[in-house]
């Protein structure tokens, strides 16, 4: 079930969802309100990472791919004049917002990150796989951005570039195998 803007704000107030910084203003009477009816905007942080091209292939079955990616990427900051994402170029970015989805019995939320239709019409993808923000997640969201259009797209720090859709989780997720490891009765209490 997708949460409405009012339910998203209620979840924030109750600590079932943490978005830092807190999206403001909440009222749609303000033009800079980050809430849509069923989503809240996320904004582009200043750092970008541009993977280099080269005579190599990524092989995820081999160890060390994270290190390899980091060593073969250029790191840059978006200047005040903006960063032009050229056609067919792939870059990584981050949201300014840190998202936390605590696992709370009967009240857990998960989320999905989606692009904005305005940027999509210019050819921008802000993620093209793995849109789900799983229950228990805590961190900023990595944006996998690619310009599929035929002209450059100027990106600015702080632009509302993506949106977060919140959903309620049915049932309580098991976070790890130790969570119920010592439970021997249906109620979860140790057997005497």
């Amino acid at each position: 079930m997708i949460l409405s803007n009012i339910e998203i704000q209620k979840a924030i107030d109750e600590g079932r969802l943490i978005i830092n910084p807190d999206p403001q203003p909440r009222s749609p009477e303000f033009s800079d309100c980050p809430y849509d009816t069923t989503a809240v905007d996320l904004h582009l942080a200043t750092s970008l990472s541009v993977p280099r091209s080269g005579a190599f292939n990524y092989d995820l079955s081999q160890g060390g791919i994270a290190t390899f990616l980091a060593r073969n990427s250029d790191h840059l900051q978006i200047p005040s004049t903006g960063y032009v994402l050229r056609p067919h170029l792939f870059v990584l970015g981050r949201t300014q917002e840190r998202i936390t989805l605590p696992i709370i019995a009967g009240q857990t939320l998960a989320a999905r990150i989606e692009g904005k239709s305005s940027f999509a019409r210019c050819g921008l993808l802000v993620h093209f796989t793995a849109p789900t923000v799983h229950a228990g997640f805590d961190g900023t969201l990595t944006l996998e951005m690619i310009n599929l259009g035929n002209a450059g797209i100027t990106l600015y720090e702080g632009t509302a570039i993506a949106q977060l859709i919140l959903e309620s989780v049915v049932g309580d997720p098991e976070e790890n195998p130790s969570q119920f490891q010592f439970q021997t009765t249906p109620a979860g209490t140790p057997e005497k």
Partner: protein, 85 residues
């Protein structure tokens, strides 16, 4: 229970993260991008949740992020590579 696992640590692709490589018992070396608050760069340690001891087959731990090489955040690591809090 929290613990620290020995690993190699380098700068990540983005600020606030580090590229980490570590040894496992059953799937060889794996790598991931760990949040900066989960690593001790100087000591080459990464924070993990210790889940259970695995009957001599390595200690099952939960990693702070998804590794590239496998689809689970839970892996078995050699006991000798763990440092308790």
């Amino acid at each position: 229970m929290s613990a620290w696992v020995k690993c190699s640590i380098e700068q990540g692709m983005l600020p606030g993260e580090y590229a980490v490589e570590m040894e496992t018992v059953d799937v060889g070396n794996i790598s991931l991008f760990a949040p900066e608050d989960k690593v001790r760069v100087e000591q080459k340690l990464m924070s993990v949740q210790r889940l259970h001891d695995g009957n001599g087959k390595g200690v099952l731990v939960r990693l702070p992020a998804q590794p590239f090489e496998i689809s689970s955040q839970n892996v078995r690591v050699p006991l000798r590579n763990l440092v308790n809090e």
